[in-house]
């Protein structure tokens, strides 16, 4: 029996007192698609960085085709035949596709351009070599990353959560590409926490939990529930489906909103109209970069419109388009932004002081002075009620894990008892347990009569908590679809646009 392409023996890596990886054993066979499955924070990314030479292991060894391999830099890994596509792409926006590739692959631009086209045809990765990267959609950027890897002729291609940025149709297309690569003799290490896709294309799955290998299985032989149990260590929490309520009063109304930003890389919004009523959750789906960031800032009040356009955004029946965030919050509006650190919370400040940022209205400030006792009490209540794993109100926000900080921020906003809540990416980078808790809270709040507007890139999440869903694409909105009357495929078609939707999903962020 030939030795496996890649073997890890007892690999370990610690950061300070945190053991990110411990005694990892792994074998990747030639010509296989091997999944590394695990929750956020299970140590998947660290492991890939060790293999790709971004980080050096503290313990254990890496064998490449049976011989010991020491990689101390990505360049060495590439020379050995290991390529990696990062979750956050390592591309340069202000350079063209071919310039980006020429940073890694030697050759003249004309020559490289030709090879990019040939590879594109062979593996279904078409992209224009002369295009600037900032003008490409996320799916196209990922293709550029994959092409760049393939041009160094790797034997092993590592993909870090490749589907998390793609609409469903592009996922399909990526899987076809991976199959063709496998047939071409390239092994693939596929990192994911999505069970269905691992079952769909992987031959082998290694499951990580808390930095160690808990199992090594053929994913096709197990159902999603069994895999989930291995991944999180207990059965997956079930989500109680919400009964639908009679729609009530309109609390958020966006009426023919147009916006043209100064920033050339930002998306212009065109003719947006929608409303959110009490007792309902409206979701906004879409591939990132299609105007979500711009719409978010216009609704949160971080960006304001000229006074003449104040009527374009109404909250609780009042025109607020020209009002700042504080004025909108006075009306009973609360907001959880996508970025936890920097926008949702100040990393260097304690949780107590972070509570104060939005909860100062609840009597935490008297005569211009902070009431420390009440501040601490409020924070302690938030920590308890929302199961935030933190030492106490004095803990620094930046020291909490992503999931815990998100629970804290969501909790803080919910404790304001808002009439209208706006949440962007409620469970982004949050582990399954915390994500389920947050979703359940949102549904509870809706049942109490709050109007909720949610932006998410995870369609499954929207289907779980929303009553209606809209899709944003190139700064325009689709009609709103009742969850009960639509399905993932239909939403996916709106995400890539009906025209390209039939052609296999060539979504562009800018046209």
């Amino acid at each position: 029996m030939p030795s496996p392409l890649l073997t890890l023996r007892g690999l370990g890596k610690s950061y300070g007192s945190v053991r990110a990886n411990h005694a990892i054993d792994l074998e990747v066979a030639e010509g296989s698609i091997h999944a590394i499955l695990g929750e956020n924070g299970a140590g998947k990314s660290t492991l890939m960085k060790l293999i790709y030479g971004v980080e050096t292991p503290d313990a254990g060894e890496i064998l490449w085709r049976g011989a010991p391999l020491r990689v101390t830099s990505p360049a060495e890994a590439r020379r050995a035949g290991i390529g990696m596509v990062f979750q956050h792409f390592s591309l340069f926006d202000t350079l063209t596709v071919v310039e980006n590739i020429s940073l890694v692959v030697p050759g003249t631009k004309a020559d490289l351009g030709q090879r990019i086209r040939t590879l594109g045809q062979t593996f279904g990765l078409d992209v224009d070599p002369q295009a600037y990267v900032h003008a490409l959609s996320v799916g196209e950027r990922q293709r550029v990353e994959i092409i760049r890897c393939l041009m160094t002729d790797p034997r092993l291609l590592i993909l870090d959560e490749p589907t998390s940025v793609l609409p469903p149709q592009s996922v399909e297309r990526l899987f076809q590409t991976l199959q063709r690569l496998k047939e071409g003799g390239v092994s693939i290490l596929f990192i994911s926490h999505k069970l269905d896709e691992v079952r769909a294309i992987c031959d082998r799955a290694t499951i990580l939990r808390a930095g160690t290998v808990v199992d090594n299985v053929d994913p096709r032989g197990h159902d999603a529930h069994a895999l989930a149990r291995m991944m999180i260590g207990h059965a997956m929490p079930e989500m109680a489906h919400a009964r639908s309520l009679a729609p009530g009063e309109v609390l958020l109304q966006v009426d023919r909103l147009n916006h043209r930003p100064d920033d050339p890389f930002a998306m212009a919004l065109a003719d947006m109209s929608f409303e959110v009523r009490t007792g309902e959750v409206l979701g906004l789906a879409g591939v990132s970069g299609n105007g979500q960031a711009e719409l978010t800032r216009l609704i949160s009040g971080e960006w304001t419109l000229p006074r003449a356009d104040a009527e374009r955004v109404r909250m609780m029946g009042r025109p607020v388009g020209d009002r700042g965030a504080a004025d909108r919050r006075e009306l009973g509006f609360a907001f959880v932004p996508e970025e936890r650190l920097g926008r949702g919370a100040v990393p260097d400040m304690s949780l107590a002081d972070n509570s104060l940022l939005t909860a100062h209205r609840l009597g935490l400030v008297r005569n211009g002075l902070i009431d420390r006792t009440r501040e601490a009490a409020f924070t302690r209540r938030c920590i308890e009620e929302f199961d935030v794993r933190a030492p106490g109100p004095e803990a620094e926000a930046g020291a909490l894990s992503g999931g815990n900080l998100q629970k804290f921020i969501v909790g803080r906003e919910l404790m304001l008892a808002p009439r209208l809540l706006f949440v962007a990416q409620p469970t982004w980078g949050v582990d399954i347990g915390a994500a389920t808790a947050i979703r359940r809270r949102l549904v509870e709040l809706r049942n109490q009569g709050c109007a909720i507007f949610v932006i998410s890139e995870e369609i499954e999440e929207l289907f779980e908590i929303c009553d209606r869903v809209m899709v944003i694409r190139e700064g325009r909105l689709s009609p709103s679809l009742r969850i009960a009357e639509t399905d993932v495929q239909e939403v996916g078609r709106y995400m890539v646009g009906t025209r390209e939707g039939t052609g296999g999903g060539d979504e562009r962020a800018h046209s």
Binding site: S73, D93, L95, L103, D262, D263
Partner: protein
């Protein structure tokens, strides 16, 4: 000589100290490092070159030594800002003050002494043109600086090295992920900036006004810094801005000579005002700023 001919003949030489310093700073900033120490590196280069030329070492040795002196200060800055990850603004200001101090210290005994400048080289034929003829009669450093401008424009735009420098400036994390030594590249870019600032100082003290006076760099390093930003990090615009500044400062002199009665303080400030207004208007194009701007400028980068 008419006022216009005077301006045309002198503007390139007047622009050269700015241009040399700004080209160096352009490379450093393109790699993501904001080096505010240019003024000090120019001042230090100026005194080193002046001493060597004054002692009879010749201009070639003077320029070389000034370049090395500028580079040495730049490396001190790089060590602080890159290796120790100090705040780049604070480190740059400290180096600027240090350079000016060193310059005053070493130049003390040479105060008000002079050296001989460099002879001009004329382009045969063109130098005899009416009015514009003076443009084709310049000292060798001006010609070399023009070549350097062209070379740098080409290098940043069309060569692999230029691509790597731009990539490091835009996204150092990604550059490291694909295997480029970000800190080494930034060290190189900052050192190049110091070298050019040293040359700029040498030109100011031994060719343009070959006379030593304390504080003779007189803020030219700061103007060079402003030129880079206002030129939205484009080589051609840096050149244009430097020449505009040179032309307007000569225009003030020409106006005075021809008897226009203008406040001399106003005339002295005119080049600053005109350059800021013109480049300010040019750089108000947000799209260009975003595309040519250096995303990681001034941010420390560490493993």
């Amino acid at each position: 000589m008419s006022g216009l001919a005077f301006i045309i003949a002198g503007m390139l030489a007047a622009a050269t100290p700015f241009l040399l310093a700004a080209l160096g700073e352009l490379v450093a900033e393109r790699s993501g490092v904001l080096n505010l120490g240019i003024e000090g590196m120019m001042a230090f280069g100026a005194v080193v070159a002046f001493i060597i030329v004054h002692q009879g070492g010749g201009h070639a040795a003077g320029f070389l030594a000034a370049g090395v002196a500028g580079m040495a200060l730049a490396l001190v800055f790089a060590w602080l800002a890159l290796s120790l990850r100090a705040n780049q603004v604070a480190a740059g200001l400290a180096i600027a003050i240090l350079g000016e101090g060193l310059s005053a210290l070493f130049g003390k005994t040479y105060e008000s002494t002079t050296v001989t400048g460099l002879p001009k080289i004329a382009v045969p034929g063109l130098a005899d043109l009416p009015v514009a003829g003076g443009l084709f009669q310049q000292d060798p450093i001006v010609w070399l600086t023009l070549l350097a401008t062209l070379g740098l424009w080409y290098a940043l735009r069309f060569t692999k090295l230029g691509l790597v420098i731009r990539a490091v400036g835009e996204n150092p994390g990604a550059a490291r992920a694909i295997g480029y030594p970000v800190l080494a590249i930034r060290y190189g870019a900052v050192a190049f900036g110091g070298l050019m600032a040293g040359f700029a100082g040498a030109y100011a003290s031994t060719v343009y006004t070959p006379l030593w006076a304390e504080g003779m760099i007189a803020g030219r390093g700061w103007i060079a810094l402003a030129l880079v930003v206002f030129a939205t990090w484009m080589t051609g615009r840096v050149f244009f801005g430097a020449v505009l500044f040179g032309a307007v400062s000569l225009g003030g002199l020409a106006a005075q000579a021809s008897g226009v009665s203008l406040n001399s303080q106003f005339l002295a400030s005119l080049p600053y005002i005109v350059t800021i207004i013109v480049l300010g208007i040019i750089s108000s194009n947000k799209r260009l700023l975003k595309i040519n701007g250096v995303a990681s400028l001034g941010e420390p980068f560490g493993p």
